[in-house]
Symmetry: D2
Subunit: 306 residues, 4 copies
């Protein structure tokens, strides 16, 4: 394929800018609400080492739930298939923080990419890792090949001050016996993950290991086996976008993960990772402009896994 | 890729035969319960025209919900995106015949591959088609390039005699205004679809249009556009296996569709379609041996969309 | 107690008339939508034989779900406690026509006063009664001591033409094995019950057997035993007002039953039955003026079972 | 009525002792699991001052959810109808600690007698009361006219150590804005209430104010108005027994409240309060022997509010 990625993202950027204003910036915490809604960036990192970018691709933002992919990879690497005794791998069919399915399924979350599942994964992390807050940060830094990636303590504190739904989830799962460590420590690690700050270039680079059969091409570390990598990608495909995962598969057709900070990362196995950031969300909590930009990306390039 | 498909399916067939006896043949109607649980067949149809097969690949069986893919393609071809005003395209997260989500979502089914969604699609078919029962049969015959494909009237009658849950679904959706035609006619057409008889070779051939960008290679008819085809495949990927769709994506990583008759069809875009038939089901209503056989197929060939 | 019931209901009538206009007449069928929203009547029938009335107490209206009490009494009289193998006796906690709880409780309706429960009771009636439509009408006539009580065929036909939710309920319960007779016959009898026409005086008189330990004082027939009568009253107390049963117990404190035609009947065991009719409904489907009138009745008379 | 209550409860006691062994003592905390399952006591306190008792009516036990009535009375006395902006008054239709309805109803609990409702009531208590733990204990002491009533710190600590479901509930409601005070303080007061120790005589006496139009006859204090008292009794009638409230109304026909410690208190307005204690529970979490004893009580005495 000979695609001029720079022209491609430039076209997309220009065609979709006019959508800014149609969504709503996440406002459950001040630190997110204050983000400039006009920010918009796109970056592509290819397996062959090129970076293409446009707009605010170098401005860092709160990656929020995109961190669930790092967390999942970190825990899956260590636990392997044992992880599936603690969390399922089915789409949730409900809002990301619903307690209903958790109740009918005895405290086993639907998948690692909804809040409940990530809380269980954090609990797993705490079981094998003395310093889980440092651990995940270093993990993300190595994946993105950028040692400056850091936590935003203001976001972490805000998450903690408003995180009652997450506290409900973890207490609820503990009542079913599916949480083993101290609740406050789990929540602290979890809220930190939400507050990791990265930019579009960092994020695109950090997902390259999923493009590359599980190998971090910046240091040649094997994060996941080839088989585990395929499975991680399948999981992103079916569960990466809350109750809009079907919509994303339908319109975009790539494995990916979104966060309420307005970031979305998607990958084309064997080829590239792309990150779009635009803070305004649609009614499902996914970046409105980002969804459209990625739909255009697969349309324009003709690349699709389907 | 130079893969010896015949050796591959022979190996898989031999390695998985021992699983027969661990599942349970569908028994809600006599005509299904009487199927020999030891039947087992695999067939591959490639885009280049080869057929590979082993075991009972030439014995016809009730395709059941696999017909939902034909129905969907038929209706999507005519209505295009208008269809999405009547049915959603998200995984259901619940059992295939659940009324719960239908209630909370005002009579709009989650996707066209659960019963409620297929009943709405049948209602759509009736709105543009005078003889829907003939129409779908001819559609399947042309896709499979086999004019002998037929309905099994005993299965159709059994489905009708026990189909109270489906009657509940269609009445329920009608109460929300999401059914436009006569209820008995819809149910009649729907129960016929369940009773289409095909064998593994037929089914693999009939899914080739989804491998081939929407074109029926047997008569060069464009069934769906290239873009619609990608979307149909994405939909099978996220919704094709009831509440085990995530599991199938995770373990197999291919778009596909299963039926309670024990058939599963999966495709590799641009390459081939594969059908496995083994009547014993797992607890989710999918062929137990079929799931394992397809998992082995992607493992052995190394082919995956992820 | 020396209460001047005539003055009491006159006061209530005058104090509550101004509420007319705040509710909404049921409009799911034309025959109900056309009722004059300004109609308002109250009637009291005492165990000692007095009748007190005011307003439109002699105008007949569609009793709708109030008929569920007649149906329940008729079936409970014949089946006794066997009835409880088919229907439970707990408040539903959901809207009157919800399918959700039915699904999680395997087709056993919560109580005989929600639609699903009355459909099961109708199924029971059909099992022991050749002419169920005549049977229930004669039963109501005898209870009210009025042989002119009749069905309104226009309402019956309208109910049938729009009764898809009820058709869904009965098909759904049949799929669980909790319906034994022909579905169309059950629905026909059920829709007839909705179309029984009675006025406030009729209804107050027809509930006197529940005031009187189970004995129809007009012909001395023992409809229910004393113990069964207490239980019927307890059931009305906890389940008579859909998901507003708690509210009615809280504000009024009497056993009773409402219908979407705007009628409410309540009883004071050992003393009297009172019927209020005002067609405008509140958001829970109960007569807005009727709820307030009965609240005033217990406040003014100081009579309460609590 | 000239009823020999002593003979009556003696008969009941003798007739029902044989049921011991058919239920299961609550075992979620050791302090409850260790209770002798053979304990069985009954006490009646009449409005005229008599006490009748049999069996272990003087042995104290953990009153558990019966304390929700004290809490409700305490808060209703202060807040009046303002309370209903924070909690509803409808039967729950679900298990006592379900989060499902809470989710669909935006954090407003169904009634004050389920855990979620009592947690909200505790939050209300904390808003007007500096020392809520002392306050409720003194309130119970005054109602029972026994200053020795106390908390069992072992039970309080056990409740705290296992109370993750309650922590989930309060965090969940806080996420909807329906909790105003510090979560740990609310839980601490709540777990204390579960650990109040009283015997059958204490409990029968402490409910006399609900028999007596709201007045504590031991010190003539007006706890609730006459109207509020009727409403409190109606609430116990419809909501006092979790998802067995309908069953209790049906079989017993009296307002009452149960606890998982095996105690049940019921009242006959204007006449008496009766408490039964037998630790073994039925599948709904209510005392198996207690339910049957109270059913016999209304049968034998012929007393019923219906």
């Amino acid at each position: 394929m000979n695609i001029d990625y720079q022209s491609c993202i430039t076209e997309i950027y220009n065609e979709t800018r006019s959508l800014i204003g149609q969504g709503k910036v996440a406002n459950y915490i001040p630190a997110l609400a204050e983000v400039n809604p006009e920010c918009y960036g796109i970056a592509i990192a290819t397996l062959t080492g090129e970076i293409y970018k446009i707009g605010n691709a170098d401005i860092e933002f709160s990656i929020q739930s995109i961190s669930k992919v790092f967390l999942f990879a970190r825990v899956f690497k260590v636990l392997g298939d044992e992880l599936w005794t603690r969390v399922d791998r089915e789409p949730s069919g409900s809002a990301f923080n619903s307690l209903v399915q958790l109740e009918s399924e005895n405290g086993i979350p639907r998948n690692p990419f909804i809040n409940a599942g990530a809380l269980v994964a954090t609990d797993c992390l705490l079981s094998f890792c003395k310093n889980p807050i440092e651990d995940i940060l270093y993990f993300a830094r190595n994946l993105a090949d950028n040692q400056k990636i850091h936590y935003d303590s203001r976001i972490v504190n805000s998450e903690r001050a408003t995180g009652f739904r997450n506290a409900a989830l973890v207490n609820f799962m503990k009542s079913f016996g599916n949480i083993h460590n101290d609740i406050d420590s789990i929540l602290d690690a979890y809220f930190h993950q939400c507050g990791i700050m990265m930019n579009c270039v960092d994020l695109a680079k950090s997902f390259l290991f999923l493009v590359n059969g599980g190998i971090n091409s910046f240091n040649d570390e094997q994060i996941l086996t080839r088989s585990q990598t395929k499975r991680a990608n399948a999981l992103m495909q079916t569960c990466g976008f809350y109750d809009e995962s079907g919509e994303f598969a339908f319109c975009v057709g790539l494995p990916g993960k979104s966060g309420v900070g307005g970031g979305i990362v998607a990958i084309i196995p064997g080829l590239l990772a792309i990150c779009v950031w635009a803070p305004e969300l649609n009614s499902h909590g996914n970046s409105l402009v980002g969804m459209r930009a990625l739909e255009l990306f697969t349309t324009k390039t003709g690349i699709s896994i389907f």
